[in-house]
Symmetry: C2
Subunit: 361 residues, 2 copies
C-alpha cells in the first residue's frame, strides 16, 4: 500500500520534530508492505508573514487531492493580535472536516513518581466556540461601552458522531486489552465519560450531553461500554486527583482543549502527548505541544509526541500493526529512560532520542 | 459595628457547613467591636421543588434591603435537565452585581507532599457564557439537524473592573507580605496573570486581554504590579506543573471556574478552598465545593472552606483584622493536622474540626 503523507512543520520546534515523523515512517520494516510518498507543505505564522496567508490554498488542495494523511508540527501565536492572522490548524480541521481530535495520554510504565494514567480524550473538533463567529459592538460609554460576543455552537449531529467515535475507541481499546497479558492495563472494562457544563449551559451543553447519551446507547455499545458524565470543572479536579479513573473522555471542543493540556501535565510533559485530527478516511497527526519559542533552534525538542502522533495517524488510516510497532519502540525507549530530552529531566538531544527509537523499531 | 449576614445553606452539605460560618462569627473576640445579626434564607434545588423557585424573591430582597453580606452553602445540580430550574448562585451573582469571584488557594505550610501554593484566582462573575443566552434551532435532518447556540459576552467595562480588582488584591497581598516575617511567603513581588484564549477568540478574549492590560497599566499599578498573560489551556498545564509561579490570576468567568477547581485539587481538597462573590459594598462567602450528595448527612463535610469563606467575606466588608483571626485559627488547626475530615485523609467530624478551630480563635 502506498500512503501519501503531507508534512506541515509550521513554526518553531514544529520544524525540528516533523522530520522525525518522516524518518520513522521510512524506517518501518518492509514486511509491513507500506510505502510512503511525502509532500512538503506550508502553514503557520512565518508563512503568513511571507505570503499573507497562514494556510495557503495550495496546502489545503494538496492535502485534499493528493494525500492520505498528514503530520502537522506547531504554529506560533503572535503575542499581539495581528490583523488577518488566525490559526491555520483550526481552519484545517474545519476545511477537511476532521471532526475528531483524539488525544491518548498514558504514563510510562514503571514511573513510580506518577499515578498510572491511560486515557484518551476524544475532542469534538469543528464547532463549539471554535466556529469563531465573533462580533464587536461599540456602545457609547453611557450605555455600557464596548463589548464583544462569540457564538458557541453545538449540533446534535457533531455531538453524536464524536460520541460514536469515543464509543468505538473504547471498544477498540478493550479488544487490545483482551489480547494483552493480564495486568498490563489499569482498566477492566470500557468506560466513556461525557464532559459538559449543562448546569449552566442547559441548551448547548445539554444538547451535547443528550446527543452523546443517545449515541452511546446504540446496540453496538449498549452493555459493552459503561457511560458516565461529569461537569467540566469538577472533571479538572478529578483529573488531578484520580486520573486513573478515566478511560475514554468525550468533550466539546474547548473543554477537550483544556482537559488534554491538564492530562498532559500529569504524565510529565506535553512533549509526550500525541493527537490525531480525524475525519472520514483522513487523519492528521499533530503533537499536542506548541511551537515552544523558548527552546527553538536548540535541537532539544522532545520528538516523542510527534512519533506517537505518526503512529496515531497510521492507526486511523487502518495501519494498526505499523502503529503498534512505533508505540512499542517509543515505550521501550521511555521505559529504559536512558535518553530523555530536558522536558523530562534528561540531557538528550532530539537527534539522540530519534536514533534510539528508530533502532528499536 | 453591626453586620447583618444572610445565611443561605442551600442543599446537601451546604446545610452542614453554613452553621459553622455563623458560629465562628459569633465566637469572634468582642474586642473587635463587631456584632452580627443573621437572616435565614432559602435557595437551591430543594427550595425549587418545594416552591417552584430556585431563588425566591424574598431571598434577593432581604439580601438587598437588609444585609451587609451573606454566606452561601452549595446547591445540587439535578442529574437531568429540569424545566424551569437554573442555578440560584449564578442568578444571585448577576442580580446583586457581585462582579468578582475571588478564590484564594493556599497550601498548608509544612505539607511536604505538595508544592507550596499561594495564589488567588479573581474570576469575572457576571458575563462570558454565564449570561445564559441560549437558543435551540430545529433544522430538518437534510439541512444538518438540530443545534443550539449560546452567547459568550465580554465587555470592556467588566473586564476592566475585574482586572482592577485583581491589581488591588495583588497590592494588598504585597502589603501583608511586607509586614510578615521574611520567608513566610513564596512570592517576592506582586504578579497578575491574565488568562484568555485570544488565539482562537480574538474579539471576545482579545477584548478581555486588552482591557485587563489597560486597567493594569493605571498609575496605581504601573511599576508596582508585574503583568503577564497566558492562554487558558497552557495555563492548566502550568498550574499542575508549576503552581508556585502564580500569585494573582485574572480570568473570564468560565476559565476562572475551571482553573479554580484545578487549583483546589492541588492543595488536596475542594473542602479547603473558599470564595467570595464581591460587589460594591457587598460580599457573599461561598465554599468552592458542591453539595456533595455522596457524604450528605454523615457529618463529615470539611468546614474549612466555609470558615475561610466567612473570613474572606469579612475581608471584603473591610474587617481585615477579624478575617485574619479566622485565617490564623484555621491555619493553626491544619498545620497541627490532628483533626482532619476524611477528604484530607483523616477521621474527624465536621463538629470536631469546628470546635478545634473555634478554640484557637
Ligand atoms: C493553537 C490552538 C488554536 C490549538 C487549539 O486551541 O485547538 C491548540 O491549543 C491545540 O490544542 O491544538
Ligand atoms: C454550580 C455552578 C453553577 C457554579 C459555577 O459554575 O459557577 C460552581 O461550579 C462554582 O464554581 O461556583
Amino acid at each position: 500500500r502506498l500512503l501519501r503523507i503531507g508534512l506541515i512543520p509550521g513554526d518553531g520546534i514544529g520544524r525540528e520534530v516533523i522530520p522525525a515523523g518522516r524518518r520513522i515512517l521510512e524506517a518501518l520494516p518492509s514486511s509491513l508492505g507500506l510505502r510512503f510518498e511525502f509532500a512538503d507543505l506550508h502553514a503557520g505564522f512565518e508563512t503568513f508573514e511571507k505570503t499573507g496567508a497562514a494556510l495557503p490554498d495550495r496546502t489545503v488542495d494538496v492535502l485534499r487531492g493528493e494525500c492520505d494523511g498528514a503530520l502537522f508540527g506547531a504554529v506560533s501565536s503572535p503575542s499581539k493580535a495581528v490583523r488577518g492572522y488566525s490559526s491555520p490548524i483550526v481552519a484545517l480541521r474545519k476545511k477537511l472536516d476532521l471532526y475528531a481530535n483524539v488525544r491518548p495520554v498514558k504514563s510510562v510504565r514503571g514511573d513510580a513518581a506518577r499515578k498510572p494514567i491511560d486515557m484518551v480524550i476524544v475532542r469534538e473538533n469543528t464547532e463549539d466556540l471554535y466556529v469563531k463567529e465573533e462580533k464587536t459592538f461599540d456602545r457609547p460609554e453611557s450605555e455600557g461601552g464596548k463589548y464583544a460576543e462569540a457564538i458557541k455552537r453545538i449540533s446534535e449531529r457533531a455531538s453524536s458522531r464524536i460520541a460514536t467515535m469515543a464509543g468505538e475507541i473504547a471498544l477498540r481499546r478493550q479488544k487490545i486489552r483482551e489480547s494483552s497479558p493480564p495486568g498490563s492495563s489499569i482498566h477492566e472494562r470500557p468506560l466513556v465519560t461525557i464532559t459538559h457544563k449543562s448546569n449552566v449551559l442547559s441548551q448547548t451543553d445539554g444538547l451535547f450531553r443528550t446527543a452523546c447519551r443517545a449515541a452511546l446507547s446504540a446496540p453496538e455499545f449498549a452493555g459493552a461500554v459503561a457511560v458516565e458524565e461529569q461537569i467540566v470543572d469538577s472533571m479538572v479536579y478529578k483529573l488531578f486527583r484520580q486520573p486513573e479513573a478515566y478511560d475514554v473522555i468525550v468533550a466539546p471542543n474547548l473543554y477537550g482543549d483544556i482537559l488534554s493540556d491538564g492530562a498532559a501535565a500529569l504524565v510529565g510533559s506535553l512533549g509526550l502527548v500525541p493527537s490525531a485530527n480525524v475525519g472520514e478516511g483522513f487523519a492528521i497527526g499533530e503533537p499536542c505541544h506548541g511551537s515552544a519559542p523558548d527552546i527553538e533552534g536548540k535541537g532539544i525538542a522532545n520528538p516523542v509526541a510527534t512519533l506517537r502522533s505518526t503512529a496515531l495517524m497510521l492507526e486511523f488510516l487502518g495501519e494498526e500493526e505499523a502503529a503498534a510497532k512505533i508505540y512499542a519502540a517509543v515505550d521501550a525507549s521511555l521505559e529504559e529512560g536512558r535518553l530523555l530530552t530536558p522536558d523530562l529531566g534528561g540531557r538528550a538531544t532530539t537527534e539522540e532520542v530519534v536514533v534510539d527509537i528508530l533502532k528499536r523499531l
